[in-house]
């Protein structure tokens, strides 16, 4: 029901009009000094408009893009010609006193139609505008749609699994193997959900400056070798050749190991997902010519990406092949996380790609160390191992 604000001084008018309207509209009553016009679809007033009404009306008449909030003015008993000039200017429509119910309804309906029109026009205008603010709004909507989709997808699967288990147990139906399989599916999807949630939390922490980096001096080559090893099993499953190349010992750099692992994991995960069977993924590490940084590269022989899609590739929920028609690495947060984690520690991240040939992601770590920490040997464990389990593309 539309909301009508009654800002009338004349008590009789007020009583009559509210009686006429109360069954078909939500009525709001003007209380001294409190401007509630923002909540109203239409305002009805009589002579001697409160100043805020006059100001609102004046302001919105100036603004072309404003959405019409109609003001219906009830003329004094003496007649329409007794309306003050200012009130005339502010009003959109005038109705004579005593108020006739039919006429009131006719005017109100016409004014509300005009309001709806102006809403549609404003919406169209803004969408065509290329206005940064509104586009951001649109992107926000899309972000939440995609987010909601990605969170609910694995959840829907888990609910399905639970339904199966409870129905088949109640009816003594299914084979043990079916049940085992169902549990496997439900576990896989729960972990996927967990991973997405972790990604979101981490991204938010990073974006709001709440993420700390705990630095340890680390032998990057050995560290990388460990990460690549932990992923070999999955690569074998997909029949992809996963190669680790390190031609020389690399510098020791102070890094937050968990985050470096996360970055590598995400890049590897992408590479393996987008490379077909019998393809090849190469992880290489080496010192830069000037020895001031260590370069890590993850190269795949996958589908590659067109040049124009590369620009936004590190943004959350960007997909190289168009929004919702295909879902990729656990909802497009993987690369956004890579970028944010890298920025946190001053690492550079770059991508090169050729359609049909493959992609190459590079991470550049400037050489610096911290005092006091000994070489962090043996701490290559996968943090929260469970959360980083790979899962199939849907």
């Amino acid at each position: 029901m539309e909301r009508i604000l009654l800002a009338m001084k004349d008590k009789e008018n007020l009583k009559t009009v509210s009686n006429f309207l109360e069954n078909n509209f939500t009525l709001m009553f003007y209380e001294n000094g409190i401007d509630t016009t923002a909540l109203a679809d239409l305002v009805i007033a009589d002579e001697g408009l409160p100043p805020f009404l006059r100001e609102n009306a004046a302001r919105s008449k100036k603004d072309q893009n404003a959405i019409l909030r109609p003001l219906l003015l009830i003329a004094p008993k003496e007649g329409i010609s007794f309306i003050g000039k200012d009130d005339w200017m502010a009003a959109d429509e005038v109705i004579s006193s005593p108020v006739n119910k039919m006429e009131l309804y006719t005017r109100i309906e016409a004014l509300l139609r005009m309001r709806k029109q102006s809403m549609l026009l404003a919406e169209q205008r803004l969408l065509q505008d290329g206005d940064g603010a509104l586009l951001a709004n649109e992107q926000l909507m899309s972000f939440f749609s995609i987010l909601s989709h990605e969170l609910k997808t694995p959840l829907a699967v888990v609910l399905s699994c639970l339904e199966f288990l409870s129905v088949s147990m109640a009816n003594d139906f299914s084979s043990l193997e079916n049940c085992r399989n169902t549990l496997e599916i439900s576990k896989r999807n729960t972990l996927r959900l967990l991973r997405i949630i972790n990604n979101i939390i981490d991204l938010t922490k990073l974006k709001t400056g709440n993420m700390k980096a705990y630095l340890h001096n680390t032998d990057i080559r050995r560290f990388l070798e460990g990460v690549v090893d932990s992923v070999q099993a999955y690569a074998r499953e997909k029949e992809i050749k996963l190669v680790f190349l390190a031609e020389e010992p690399c510098a020791v750099i102070a890094v937050d190991q968990n985050k470096l692992e996360r970055v590598l994991f995400n890049l590897l995960s992408n590479a393996l997902k987008f490379t077909p069977r019998n393809g090849k993924v190469t992880v290489s590490v080496g010192n830069s010519p000037d020895r001031k940084s260590v370069m890590i590269a993850v190269r795949d022989t996958g589908i590659g990406m067109p040049q124009e899609k590369l620009r936004g590739i590190f943004e959350a929920f960007s997909y190289a092949d168009g929004a919702l028609s295909k879902r990729a690495d656990g909802c497009g947060l993987g690369l956004a996380l890579v970028k944010s984690l890298a920025e946190l520690q001053g690492w550079g991240v770059r991508v090169e790609s050729k359609l049909g040939i493959g992609s190459k992601f590079c991470v550049e770590l400037p050489v610096r160390t911290v005092e006091a920490d000994a070489l962090a040997e043996g701490s290559f464990s996968v943090q929260n191992g469970i959360a980083y389990e790979f899962s199939e593309i849907d």
């Binding site: 909601s148 997808t153 829907a156 609910l159 399905s160 339904e163 199966f164 129905v167 599916i185």
Partner: protein, 125 residues
């Protein structure tokens, strides 16, 4: 007598392998329902429609290579085609309106197989 007398042939079209597998498994628990196939993209849907001639299609809106709405439109152009239930996680007003206008039913995921079965059984034939 009458209640379970009709057998329904159902085609599931969803590119989420796990979801499609579980939905198929759950619906198959009901004696009057049989899953004739699972399609994971638009082309497969059209092929399976020709091959199996299902009574019901459970169609996900988002699929690779072919937009669910496009598939719906093609199905609706078929003479004596199946009844379509759009299954989607997202509830976009214009998509819902479009689907309904094309004669499909719209169901929001997550939804349990039992409810889907009830809705299928209560279709006016």
């Amino acid at each position: 007598m009458g209640y379970l007398s009709k057998n329904f042939k159902i085609l599931i079209a969803d590119d989420n392998r796990d979801f499609a597998a579980m939905l198929s498994q759950n619906i198959s628990l009901y004696p009057d329902m049989s899953i004739v196939g699972i399609a994971s993209n638009g082309m497969d849907v059209m092929n399976m429609l020709q091959r199996h001639k299902p009574d019901i299609v459970l169609l996900d809106i988002i699929m690779p290579d072919m937009d669910g709405m496009e598939v719906l439109r093609q199905i609706c152009e078929m003479e004596g085609g199946p009844t379509v239930f759009m299954l989607s996680i997202l509830c976009n007003e214009s998509v819902v309106n479009q689907s309904i206008r094309l004669g499909a039913k719209f169901l929001l995921k997550p939804i349990d197989a039992g409810s889907i079965v009830l809705k299928i059984r209560s279709l006016d034939n």
